[in-house]
Amino acid sequence: MTTPSKKLRFATVWLAGCSGCHMSFLDLDEWLFELAEHVDVVFSPVASDLKTYPEQVDVCLVEGAVANVDNLELALQLRQRTRLVISFGDCAVTGNVPALRNLWADVDGGSRQSVLDRSYLELADIGAQHPHAPGIVPELLERVRPLHEVIPVDLYLPGCPPSAERIRAAIEPLLRGETPAMEGTAMLQFG
């Protein structure tokens, strides 16, 4: 039934997050082999070497919030090229920890300046200076946003990180062409 040509084109993306969701994904251990029978991993920080997000992706797990222009560009691009986009983990779903700098949106200088000053000047032991490498270090957005505020999202998979069981319970039905039932503490609880 699952001939190679019918394999889903599967991607995972890492935006502004700690990569914990990807670690949890790797916690799926041997089930990953099963997954590999159903999907081709076409783009992923943990399972692929491609640098450009490919066309015609079926499913994409997006970890992390949208915090800088690179995140934004990739989010917009993957939306265009993906059938089913999944907000993967609390950072993508709510903004979570990366979005905490939004608390400073209304202070002088705004959240972008405040977080840079704090990180690179105030807390620096030596060589305090702002990172500056145009074209290499992406510019921060003034506000960190959850993924769905930037692009339409098809499925929300919360958790910080979502447990391997939860990830599996969300992906398995997709492989069968079904929508997973995202309900109850096991599937929905934040944190």
């Binding site: 907000s87 609390d90 779903v93 709510t94 903004g95 979570n96 920890v97 979005a99 905490l100 939004n102 608390l103 400073w104 949106a105 209304d106 202070v107 959850p146 769905h148 505020e149 999202v153 929300y156 919360p158 910080c160 995202m182 309900e183 109850g184 503490t185 929905l188 609880q189 934040f190 944190g191």
Partner: protein, 239 residues
Amino acid sequence: MSVHTLTVDGMEVAVPEGATLLDAVRAAGVELPTLCHLDGLSPVGACRLCLVEMETSGHLQPACATAAGEGMAVLTQTPQLQHYRRMAVELFFAEGNHVCAFCVANGNCELQDVAVAVGMDHSRFPYQYPNRRVDASHPRFAIDHHRCILCTRCVRVCDEIEGAHVWDVANRGGECSIIAGLDQPWGEVQACTSCGKCVDVCPTGAIFRKDDTTAEKEANRERPQLLRSAREQHQWQNQ
């Protein structure tokens, strides 16, 4: 004692005179989410999660703050009510800074639980990121206003059970916040007896013990009811 008979989602239940609609709903074995309500404290009807629909008039009433009456018929799970409840929970999440991942109450938080109960997988309303305060001036406890949902349980338990009235609500609208004394650091308010009841009743991780870290907070939300029955009925339920 007289009894009222009413129906909850079509099920007939009998509750004693003086019972609330919430009592009736529970008597019918129906689960209704609540946040501001806590047994043993006076009802305020503020969180709107326990709204039920009066079958004849179509009016929505907070079950916690409405007296059960003879012949009433209430609906608790209409699609509309479920829709409103989810939106209310989204509004709660969006107006504060609720980051479950590193919250002291993670796994023991009523807000987290109602989010699951109403099926909230994300908030359609943008988060507001209010820049609030954390007050750790009390020797044993702390209050993190980012996590406060203004349920006023702390205000009520301190006033009605402990009798100290350390807490109250200041300001209004979206600027509302829980204050101690004259909006002073908690540790400086002499009225505080350090009884910890506000910690026990807080539905979230807003008020917590300082020695608890992420996901370590244990609440004791039955305490007001136990104290009240001890005081009023002279019945002690030693656990």
